[in-house]
Symmetry: C2
Subunit: 161 residues, 2 copies
């Protein structure tokens, strides 16, 4: 288990913002590939125990993305959005909507900062209301993120600390 | 001059939200056409005296849009974004970025409510910071909106009140 690289969620009360940071012992180019190559993405994004089915995943400005996470009982959780901008190796800006809360859209920016062979991932989310942000925080998001980034490290061959 | 249908901007201090409402004496189907048909859009969107050049305008989920407003001196103001969702006659959800403030993206939802042959347009914007929202409010946005909706009414053949 990698204990150095913890997920940190910053969400000031009463605002619609959430910032998630996670450092990864892999260079930005590898992290970017994990985010943007469909065959890699399905191997890490989401909590352990859920299977990810990718729909659209068109990484370019205006490209659509969608995926469904299925748990062993068959429960399905669908997500969709579009890419607003794509800066290879550095940044993705996209919309995000959970089918279970249709009509509630989030704007998300993912920044990859080069720490010299390591990467700081910063995910900045802005929601359409404080309530939308709080609902996302209450949804068990932190456990899913912890699993996701550990799985990304396993995928990228990062040694456990 | 139509004085009944004023632009109302609601922007609570210290939040990244802005809501713009404007009633128009035309049915939602006509207002939706004005928003989504390129040859109509260029005739009303923006302040009087500026010429609008449309780039992309692909009204579908994942479709890109871009346009440039030019003033008589040749100054150009470019804007771009992507459509997240499109509900014909009712709603558009899109991203919005001003080239002059590149990297600062807004998420915008446009709702058309049927008031019985008239339409209430509600534009709800959420910005990535309170500062971004305040900068937009300070940019002379209200004058541009006032002109825009008056021009839309002229285009739709709405009689002056």
């Amino acid at each position: 288990m990698n204990t150095r690289n913890a997920v940190v969620i910053t969400a000031e009360p009463g605002t619609p913002f959430a910032t998630i940071t996670r450092e990864v012992d892999a260079p930005p180019a590898d992290v970017y590939r994990a985010y943007t190559e469909p065959d890699l993405l399905v191997q890490w994004l989401g909590p352990r125990g859920l299977v990810m089915e990718l729909g659209d995943y068109d990484v370019r400005p205006g490209g659509k993305w969608s995926y469904t996470h299925r748990d062993p009982s068959g429960m399905a959780f669908g997500f969709r959005g579009v890419f607003h901008s794509v800066t290879p190796g550095e940044q993705l800006v996209q919309t995000f909507e959970f089918d279970g809360a249709a009509g509630h859209v989030c704007l998300e920016r993912v920044d990859l900062a080069d720490l010299g062979g390591r990467t700081r991932i910063t995910v900045f989310d802005v929601f359409q209301s404080v309530e939308d942000r709080d609902a996302m925080l209450a949804s068990g998001m932190e456990d899913g993120l912890t699993d996701s980034y550990e799985r990304m490290e396993e995928l990228l061959g990062v040694a456990a600390q």
